[in-house]
């Protein structure tokens, strides 16, 4: 192809070997008449057909109003296949009304409106060369009159001033997390502290070590999430409560102590084969949940990272990179499971400063 530097869209439309086109363009086919163009009966029939669609659309719109006022919602929300009578009838009547209007209009266009194809010539997307030149001239004149190019001091300081204006814009966003809400050191700690009881996550009752059955997996939480006068933990509210709940969730399992590897520190951190891990996946932070007792593997349902709970919750499959943090546990004098300390590393998804906190 010839590569000219001033492409003219008009000329370049024409292939260089137009004379060699194997078959000449026969041109637009002749217009053919539709039955509705030539047969008055067909025309009348189409008119009636279209009008009938519009009338039916009106009927459905009225039925919509009837349905709106006749069907109760609330208690009877699953009348038809899990959906309420109101939702089903409103959807059907509205949809039918709209569809009939739509088909009516399209039928009108296809059957009764003129159907002769028209030809319109295209124009190149580019402006004519003289317009381009005039524009460049105007631009240069304008810039020249502004004199910005001749006064670099003014130009540079102006650009600098506008650029520095970005600082206030960015700084203004600082209080998206106001005050010490931006303290990322919080990621290093959870609410767990020495002696805090492990409680069942829904009811908040403490767990006797002797109650934990072999092969069980118990979803548990820190006792501080269930404050009472008896345990003396302070009420948590709002964001703080949610954050501590999100970080403090644990799973407790019991297996034959002989199955636990050294990675779990069986002598220091477990109680008679009872072992406790953070419930929050180290991949992107989903709560893990699916436990297979024969292999003591636990699977995260979000992205299928699989952890071996007998072997320090090391990742055996899936995209996670780190083992679930283990919570060192003991029993108190009443025989309930308690934490020896907080987790010894940040729980949940990785983050840039993780090793630094």
């Amino acid at each position: 192809m010839s590569n000219d530097n001033t492409p003219s869209p008009y000329e370049s439309h024409v292939p260089s070997h137009r004379e060699a086109e194997p078959i000449p363009d026969p041109g637009l086919p002749a217009h053919t008449w539709r039955p509705t163009d030539v047969d008055p009966k067909a025309e009348k029939r189409a008119e009636r057909q279209i009008a009938a669609m519009f009338v039916a659309a009106m009927v459905f719109a009225v039925l919509f109003v009837v349905a709106y006022f006749s069907f109760e919602i609330g208690d009877s929300w699953d009348t038809f296949g899990g959906l309420g009578a109101s939702t089903v009838t409103l959807g059907l009547t509205l949809g039918m009304s709209l569809l009939l209007i739509g088909t009516g209009i399209i039928q009108l266009a296809r059957k009764l409106m003129a159907d002769a194809e028209m030809v319109e010539m295209r124009h190149p997307a580019a402006s004519p060369p003289e317009d381009r030149e005039a524009t460049i001239q105007a631009l240069n004149d304008g810039l020249d009159e502004a004199g910005i190019g001749r006064r670099p001091l003014v130009r540079n300081t102006m650009l600098g001033a506008v650029g520095v204006l970005g600082l206030p814009a960015v700084v203004l966003l600082r209080d998206l997390a106001p005050g010490n809400a931006l303290d990322i050191n919080k990621l290093a700690h959870t609410i767990w502290e020495p002696g805090m009881r492990l409680v069942r996550d829904v009811v908040g009752t403490p767990i006797l070590a002797s109650e934990v059955e072999m092969g069980d997996l118990i979803n548990a939480a820190p006792e501080a999430m269930f404050p009472s006068e008896e345990n003396g933990y302070p009420e948590l509210e709002g964001a703080e409560e949610q954050a501590e709940k999100a970080k403090g969730a644990i799973i407790i399992v019991r297996m034959d102590p002989s199955e636990l590897t050294e990675a779990t520190q069986p002598d220091k951190w477990t109680v008679d084969g009872i072992i406790c891990y953070s419930k929050i996946c180290t991949h992107v932070g989903c709560p893990i949940s699916l436990y297979e007792r024969t292999t003591h593997h636990v699977l995260c349902p979000c992205h299928q990272s699989t952890f071996d709970l007998a072997d320090g919750a090391k990742v055996v499959f899936g995209p996670a990179a780190r083992a679930l943090p283990q919570l060192p546990i003991a029993v108190d004098e009443e025989g309930y499971l308690v934490a020896q300390s907080d987790f010894t590393e940040p729980i949940g998804a990785s983050f840039w400063e993780r090793e630094k906190l």
């Binding site: 590569n3 609330g74 709209l98 209007i101 088909t103 010539m121 995209p319 840039w352």
Partner: protein, 584 residues
């Protein structure tokens, strides 16, 4: 009208006298408006603007109209939705959650679903319309790519379209996160993990977005304003630009008799195209209404309110988020490094923060890369059949295969359960297939396209197969071919010959090589890779020669007892009329 009754001429500062005849009501309104807006000059051409017709041009229209449905149903939902994470106890009509603590956004979603008549319908219509919006944008994108409609002068409109797809996806994510139910909350927590995986600033980005530690009390109101104001505003502006460019460039059309690069053939905007497009809006709206009425989507009451300690098996994002999720799932174990004490999570960065943006950039660059390789600087308004651009078609199919495999990987748990397979094996398979699949798809597609090109040439040169077998006196069997009709034949040849770019062809007048000859060599190599396998249409001489040969054959058979054209028993004579432009 030789004399004008000047008593009726209105006073006017225009150069011509205002019309004396009494206009109709609509006419006087139009005059009133034009006196102030001067619209007539712009409307004069555009009211009868010609739009070509083809079913595939409707795909973008589905996206446009479903966006309008989204605006309408979305406004309805905002009248009741309360984007607050304030904790309340649900006391509404849905008995199974009555007395359960949840956020106000979840409670107001339940209120819309169970205590506002038409509320559940509108919620479901909104969600279905969102799915259709994204899906139709994707299919529209494929149509544009496969037909080469993104070539000059439409590259920028392609880029705008890609941005619309990105924004539509983000709009969907922010939207389905709003009810603060268990499923969407799990998605938001994963998004928090993605943010935290961003090097250097990730942890702070997470804290700033959530107003502190996850989950905080700010994320829902913030997602809400992004969902109802920020993204829709940008979407509207980009859709307007997309449509303006469409009008300015005029729509592409398929080649055919009388349809050239210089013209556009079709129906005028007023009345036919306006009626068809307007009617189609009602149809899209109607279909979405029926889907909203009959098909349950996102039943948040079944998931329950968000609780950061809970999750359900089979948690899946909405389908258009599935492919990055799939990439996330098939990353091998342990891809994380600690450098100078800082953690770099390749296992999250690669599938979420790097690959999807990279895919988008590749997509946006496609017309520019193709334009550079071919060196083609002409405007293109005639569409190409996918087979006539085998390399482009194959690249798109390879990208689709990558997308499809990643998407399937995002459902590896569902596939494992439904097909009773091992999730580990599916994942191992995907880790390999994601690389091999696209290569295989590229190769198969390209060969397939080239075969189809050969087939087209066969039809042009030797006609189509009639299915009639004749035996020659020597006993040889041959199938009778008949020429295809002239309209089809012209349409098959209405395409450019591909020309492989060669170094040296780009010299200036003095014959000096262009200065950047290394990139030119690469360009020549790529051009050869792209074009050299293609089958070009026959020349006039080849066609004449072939037809001459056919006539000669016919003469030889003229003496037979029963000269048959092979169409005594079928309807080819009826169907092969000139008004059927092209048929395989």
């Amino acid at each position: 009208m030789s004399s004008i009754d000047t008593s009726k001429v209105a006073t006017s500062n225009r150069t011509d006298a205002a019309t004396a005849s009494k206009p109709g009501r609509a006419g006087s309104l139009a005059t009133w408006a034009d006196d102030r807006l001067g619209l007539a000059s712009a409307m004069k051409k555009n009211l009868r603007k010609v739009f070509p017709d083809h079913w595939s041009f409707m795909l973008g229209e589905i996206a446009l109209w479903s966006f309008v449905v989204l605006l309408l149903t979305g406004v309805f939902l905002t009248l009741w939705f309360n984007p607050s994470m304030g904790h309340i106890t649900y006391e509404g009509s849905y008995d199974q959650l009555r007395g359960v603590g949840m956020s106000e956004s979840m409670a107001s979603t339940l209120h819309i679903s169970f205590d506002v008549r038409g509320g559940l319908l509108m919620r479901q219509m909104h969600h279905w319309a969102a799915s259709i919006f994204v899906a139709s944008m994707m299919v529209h994108l494929l149509r544009v790519a496969f037909t080469g409609a993104y070539r000059k002068p439409r590259e920028l409109n392609w880029v705008i379209g890609c941005l619309l797809l990105l924004l539509g996806t983000l709009e969907g994510f922010t939207g389905y996160s709003l009810p603060d139910d268990l499923l969407s909350g799990t998605g938001v927590r994963a998004a928090d993990g993605f943010l935290k995986a961003t090097p250097v600033v990730g942890t702070y980005m997470s804290f700033l977005l959530f107003g502190g530690e996850f989950p905080g009390e700010s994320i829902i109101p913030r997602l809400y304003i992004i969902h109802v104001l920020l993204i829709p505003g940008i979407l509207l502006a980009l859709i307007a630009a997309h449509m303006l460019l469409l009008v300015y460039h005029k729509h592409t059309q398929w080649p055919g008799p009388g349809r050239t690069e210089q013209n556009v053939v079709g129906y005028p905007m007023l009345p036919v195209y306006a009626a068809k497009a307007g009617g189609f809006f009602f149809m899209v709206f109607g279909v979405i209404a029926i889907m909203g009425g009959l098909m349950s989507i996102n039943p948040v009451w079944k998931f329950g309110p968000y609780d950061p300690t809970k999750v359900t098996a089979g948690s899946q994002p909405d389908w258009y988020m599935g492919w990055p999720d799939g990439l996330l799932r098939i990353i091998p174990t342990g891809w994380e490094s600690v450098i100078f004490g800082y953690t770099i999570s390749w296992n999250v960065m690669l599938p979420i923060l790097i690959l999807p943006p990279l895919m988008l950039v590749i997509l946006m660059l496609l017309p520019f890369i193709e334009g550079w390789i071919t060196g083609d600087k002409r405007d293109h308004h005639l569409l190409q059949r996918p087979r006539n651009a085998p390399t482009r078609t194959a690249v798109m199919v390879a990208l689709m295969t990558f997308y499809g495999l990643a998407w399937a990987a995002g459902g590896n748990d569902i596939i494992a359960i439904r097909l009773d397979l091992s999730i580990n094996q599916i994942t191992y398979f995907m880790r390999v297939a994601i690389f091999l699949g696209p290569i295989l798809a590229f190769w198969i597609t390209r060969r397939w396209c080239i075969s189809l090109q050969r087939h087209d040439n066969e039809k042009l040169l030797h006609g189509y197969e009639t299915g009639v077998i004749t035996r020659s006196p020597e006993g040889a069997y041959a199938e009778r071919h008949l020429p295809i009709n002239p309209t089809s034949a012209y349409t098959l040849t209405a395409r450019d010959r591909d020309e492989v770019y060669t170094v040296g062809s780009d010299t200036d007048a003095a014959g000096v090589d262009a200065p950047n000859s290394r990139s030119e060599k690469l360009r020549a190599k790529l051009s050869s890779w792209m074009y050299s396998h293609n089958v070009q249409k026959p020349t006039r001489a080849e066609l004449e020669e072939a037809h001459h040969h056919a006539e000669h054959e016919a003469e030889l058979q003229a003496g037979l007892d029963h000269p048959v054209d092979g169409h005594q028993f079928d309807d080819h004579r009826l169907r092969d009329t000139t008004d059927v432009p092209l048929r395989d």
